[in-house]
C-alpha cells in the first residue's frame, strides 16, 4: 500500500515537472518584447547561433593563442548571422583581433548588461539603444569616441543626416557609431482590404485628425467587422462583439509610443522633448491629450483593439491572427511581418498625414558603444569602426533585416526587400521627404516610462480622461528631468 502511494505521488510529481519544463520553454516567446528597436520574434536565431558558435570554435582556437578577443553583444537574433559574417571578414583583415558575438533577448539583454557592469564582466562592445545610453553615460561606463574618430579621420557625414548627432552628449562627446536606422509605417492585411473594397492607395493618401479620424478613420471603420458581419461604417455595428478591429495597437503605449501613438501625435504637432538631452518635456501639450484620447475613444467604439487584449496577446500576434486588419509597426519587423509566420499577403503604407499637414515617423537608430571594461579599447574601436563602415553595413543591408545607417547600404537593403517581393518605400519615404523626428533622448528614460506607462494604460482603458491626467504626469516628468 505504501509503495503504491509512493508510486502515485512520484508519477504526479513527474507530471508536474513535465508541465514545468513545457512552460519554461515557452517563456522566451512571452516576455522578450518591447516597443523599441528590438525584434521581438527571435525566429530561428537560437539554432543559427549555436551552429555559428560551434564553427567559430574551430578557427577560433588557432587565433585564440595570440589574438585579442573582443566580446560583442547584440539583441536582435535576426541580425546575428550577418554580424557573425562581419566578424569573420573583420578577423580576416585583422588577424590579431577575434570577435565573439553573443545574442540575448531584449529583456535579458539590459538586465544582463547592468549586472555585467556591476560584476566587471561587461562586453567590450555592445549594441546600444537611444533610450538607454544616456544612463550609461551618466554612470561613466562608456568610452568617449571623439579622439578615435579624429585620429582615424572618420567621416560622420557618411551616415543619414541626424543619425550621428544622436550619439553625441551635450558636452560634445560621442558615445557610439551609427549602425542602422528604423522608421514606422502602416502594415495592412491585403486580403481584408480587398474584402472591404479598399486599396493600398487609399491608405497612401489618407489623412488623419483626432476629432473624427479623417479619411484614415473612415478606412479603419470600414475595415472593422462585428461578429454579425456588420462593418464599422454601417448601422447596427456592435462595438461589444467585434470579430476584426480595423486598426490594432502594436503594444502598450509607454512614454514614447514609438510604434503606436508617436506618428499620430507628431503629425498633430506634438514633440515629446525639445531637442536631444532636454531638461523639460511637453507631455502637457493638448495635442498629445487629443491624440491619446482619440485612441481611447476609438477603442471604446470597437474600431481599435482593446488594450487589455493587446497586453495579453501582443499586437503583432493579433494582426497576424486576423484580429486586426492593420497596425503601425517598425521597419525592423518587415522580415517577420512579410515572412512565413503571416498567412496572408501584407502591404505597407506610410503613416497618415495629420493636422500639421505632414506625415511623421520616429527616426531611431542603433549604434555600437565601447565600454570602459574593454581590455583593449584600440582593438574594440577597430571593430566598432568596421561595423560602421560600408563593408559591413552593405553585408547587413543585403540581409534585408534592418536599414543600415549608410545610404548606399540602405539602398542595398531596399533592393534586397524588393527581390523578396516586398515594397518597403512606405518606410523610406519618411527619410526621403524629411518627415522624421528624432527619438526623444533623455537621461531618465526608465523613470519617465514608469510615470507615463501606467497613465497611458489607464487612459486607454477608459478609466480616466487624457486631458485630466496628462498635465499632472507632465509635471512629474519635468521634475525628474530637472533633477
Amino acid at each position: 500500500m505504501r509503495g503504491k502511494t509512493f508510486m502515485r505521488l512520484f508519477a504526479l510529481l513527474l507530471a508536474v515537472a513535465m508541465v514545468a519544463a513545457a512552460c519554461g520553454s515557452s517563456d522566451d516567446g512571452g516576455t522578450a518584447t518591447e516597443n523599441d528597436g528590438a525584434d521581438s520574434e527571435e525566429t530561428t536565431s537560437d539554432d543559427d547561433g549555436g551552429e555559428e558558435e560551434a564553427m567559430d570554435d574551430d578557427d577560433g582556437e588557432e587565433a585564440m593563442a595570440d589574438a585579442t578577443v573582443i566580446d560583442y553583444w547584440l539583441w536582435d537574433g535576426n541580425q546575428q548571422p550577418f554580424y557573425e559574417q562581419c566578424a569573420e571578414d573583420f578577423h580576416a583583415v585583422n588577424p590579431d583581433i577575434a570577435v565573439e558575438v553573443s545574442q540575448f533577448g531584449w529583456g535579458d539583454y539590459w538586465d544582463g548588461l547592468t549586472a555585467a557592469f556591476v560584476t566587471e564582466s561587461a562586453p567590450d562592445v555592445f549594441t546600444d539603444h537611444l533610450a538607454r545610453y544616456p544612463e550609461f553615460v551618466d554612470s561613466g561606463v562608456l568610452v568617449p569616441l571623439n579622439d578615435y574618430v579624429d585620429a582615424d579621420g572618420l567621416d560622420t557625414a557618411q551616415y543619414f543626416p541626424g543619425l550621428a548627432e544622436l550619439w553625441t552628449s551635450p558636452d560634445g562627446e560621442r558615445y557610439g557609431l551609427p549602425k542602422d536606422f528604423d522608421t514606422i509605417a502602416m502594415v495592412l492585411n491585403e486580403t481584408m482590404l480587398a474584402d472591404a473594397g479598399i486599396t493600398v492607395d487609399d491608405f497612401n493618401s489618407a489623412e488623419w485628425n483626432p476629432t473624427d479620424g479623417g479619411t484614415w478613420g473612415a478606412l479603419v471603420q470600414k475595415l472593422s467587422i462585428d461578429t454579425n458581419g456588420v462593418r464599422g461604417d454601417e448601422d447596427g455595428f456592435d462595438a461589444s462583439s467585434v470579430a476584426t478591429y480595423g486598426f490594432g495597437l502594436e503594444g502598450a503605449f509607454g512614454a514614447f509610443g514609438q510604434t503606436t501613438f508617436s506618428s499620430f501625435a507628431a503629425s498633430n504637432g506634438f514633440t515629446a522633448v525639445d531637442g536631444v538631452w532636454a531638461d523639460k518635456a511637453n507631455y502637457a501639450d493638448p495635442a498629445l491629450a487629443e491624440t491619446i484620447q482619440f485612441f481611447a475613444d476609438w477603442i471604446a467604439a470597437g474600431y481599435i483593439t482593446p488594450i487589455e487584449d493587446v497586453e495579453s496577446l501582443g499586437g503583432t500576434t493579433m494582426f497576424q491572427g486576423g484580429q486586426a486588419a492593420s497596425q503601425t509597426n517598425g521597419s525592423w519587423m518587415i522580415s517577420t511581418l512579410s515572412g512565413e509566420a503571416t498567412e496572408f499577403p501584407v502591404v505597407y503604407a506610410p503613416t497618415p498625414v495629420g493636422p500639421s499637414g505632414a506625415r511623421a515617423s520616429m527616426f531611431n537608430g542603433l549604434a555600437d558603444s565601447i565600454t570602459t571594461s574593454a581590455e583593449d579599447p584600440d582593438a574594440a574601436w577597430k571593430w566598432v569602426a568596421y561595423m560602421a563602415s560600408p563593408a559591413c553595413q552593405e553585408l547587413i543591408g543585403a540581409g534585408a533585416v534592418v536599414f543600415p545607417a549608410i545610404p548606399s547600404a540602405a539602398a542595398i537593403a531596399q533592393d534586397a526587400h524588393a527581390a523578396n517581393g516586398v515594397d518597403v518605400s512606405a518606410f523610406t519615404t519618411h527619410v526621403d521627404n524629411g518627415t522624421t523626428f528624432l527619438f526623444p533622448i533623455t537621461d531618465s528614460a526608465s523613470r519617465i516610462e514608469e510615470i507615463m506607462g501606467p497613465i497611458m494604460q489607464q487612459i486607454l482603458r477608459g478609466e480616466v480622461k487624457a486631458a485630466d491626467v496628462l498635465p499632472d504626469a507632465a509635471a512629474q516628468v519635468d521634475e525628474i528631468l530637472a533633477r
Partner: protein
C-alpha cells in the same frame, strides 16, 4: 576531589565549545555572508545615493527617507500590497482551515494528504507561467470553461480590477496545502476525548468545530498567520512573471499590481537607485516587525486555552 572534578568539568565545557564552534561554523559562515553582511550593507546603502552601474555613491543622510514621504508610487505600492494581503490571507486561511479539518476528521489517506502539498512543491515562476497560460483570454482553459456557462472571457492579468484578486487566488492555490498542513499539525494537539465528549452530548460537527476546534487551535493559528502574512507581504515572483504582458512593465496594468517588493526591485535594478531601494526595504522591515508584534500580542500566541 570536588575541586578536581569541577576543573575537569570546566575543561570538558571548554573542549565542547571548540567542537561546537566547528559544528556551527558552516551555518555561521552562511549567516555572516548571506545575512549579516548584506543587512549591514543594506542599512548603509539606505543612506547613500549609490549607483549600480558606476558602483559608487555618496553619503546623503536622511534624503532617501524624506523622499519616501512624497513618493506616490510608494504609497500606491503599499496600498496594493495591503489589498493583496487581505484577499490572499483571508481566502487562504479559511480554505486551509477547512482542508485541515477535513484531513483530520474525514480522511486518513496519506495519498490525499500528500496531494494537497503538490502546488506548494512547484517553483513560483512555474506556477505563474502555468496560470498565465490557463487564464489566457484566447487559449486559456479557464476562459473556455467560463464560456460554457455563458460568461464572457476575462482578461485576468491585464485588467486593473482583476489582476490583484487573480494573483491572490493563484498564491492561495499554491500555499493552501502547505498552510493546511501546518494547521493540521495543530489539530493533532487537540485531545480526541473532547470530541468524544462532544459527540456524547449530541453536538453537531459544526458546533464541535466552533466550540472545540477553533478556540484550541488559536495559538497554532496565530503562528500560521504570522508566517503567512509575512510571506504574503513579500509577494514578488508571480507578479513579476505574470503581469508584464506585452510591452508592459511588471506591476501593471496601470500600477494595479505593483506591490512594494516589486517596487523595491524595480527601483534598484530598473531605475538604478539601489540606495533608495534599500531605504524602502528598511521601511518594509519596520512594517513587518510592527505587524508581527501586533499579531502575536492580539492573538495571545503564547498561551493556550487547553486548561
Amino acid at each position: 576531589m570536588t575541586k578536581k572534578s569541577g576543573r575537569s568539568g570546566s575543561q570538558n565545557i571548554q573542549g565542547g565549545w571548540k567542537v561546537a564552534f566547528w559544528f556551527l561554523l558552516p551555518s555561521l559562515i552562511g549567516f555572516v555572508v548571506f545575512f549579516l553582511y548584506p543587512s549591514l550593507r543594506g542599512l548603509y546603502l539606505a543612506f547613500t545615493d549609490w549607483n549600480l552601474l558606476g558602483n559608487k555613491g555618496e553619503f546623503i543622510g536622511f534624503d532617501n527617507f524624506e523622499r519616501m514621504r512624497d513618493d506616490s508610487q510608494l504609497s500606491n505600492s503599499l496600498w496594493v500590497t495591503l489589498k493583496y494581503v487581505v484577499i490572499n490571507i483571508g481566502s487562504q486561511t479559511i480554505i486551509s482551515i477547512g482542508i485541515a479539518v477535513m484531513m483530520d476528521r474525514l480522511t486518513k489517506s496519506q495519498f490525499v494528504r500528500s496531494i494537497m502539498l503538490l502546488p506548494w512543491l512547484m517553483p513560483n515562476v512555474v506556477v505563474a507561467l502555468l496560470w498565465v497560460w490557463m487564464l489566457d483570454k484566447n487559449l486559456g482553459v479557464v476562459n473556455r470553461m467560463l464560456d460554457w456557462i455563458g460568461i464572457d472571457p476575462i482578461n485576468f492579468f491585464t485588467s486593473t480590477s482583476w489582476v490583484i484578486p487573480t494573483v491572490a487566488a493563484v498564491n492561495t492555490w499554491k500555499f493552501m496545502g502547505y498552510t493546511a498542513l501546518l494547521i493540521f499539525a495543530g489539530l493533532q494537539t487537540i485531545p480526541k476525548s473532547l470530541y468524544e465528549a462532544g459527540a456524547i452530548d449530541g453536538a453537531t460537527e459544526f458546533q464541535m468545530f466552533r466550540r472545540i476546534t477553533l478556540p484550541l487551535l488559536r495559538p497554532v493559528l496565530a503562528l500560521v498567520l504570522v508566517i503567512t502574512i509575512v510571506g504574503s507581504m513579500q509577494v514578488f515572483d508571480v507578479i513579476n512573471v505574470a503581469t508584464g504582458g506585452f510591452n508592459g512593465q511588471a506591476g501593471g496594468p496601470a500600477n494595479a499590481s505593483r506591490v512594494v517588493y516589486l517596487y523595491i526591485y524595480q527601483t534598484a535594478v530598473t531605475f538604478n537607485e539601489p540606495g533608495y531601494a534599500a531605504a524602502i526595504s528598511l521601511l518594509l522591515v519596520a512594517i513587518l516587525m510592527v505587524v508581527t508584534f501586533l499579531q502575536l500580542k492580539l492573538l495571545r500566541a503564547g498561551e493556550s486555552d487547553l486548561a
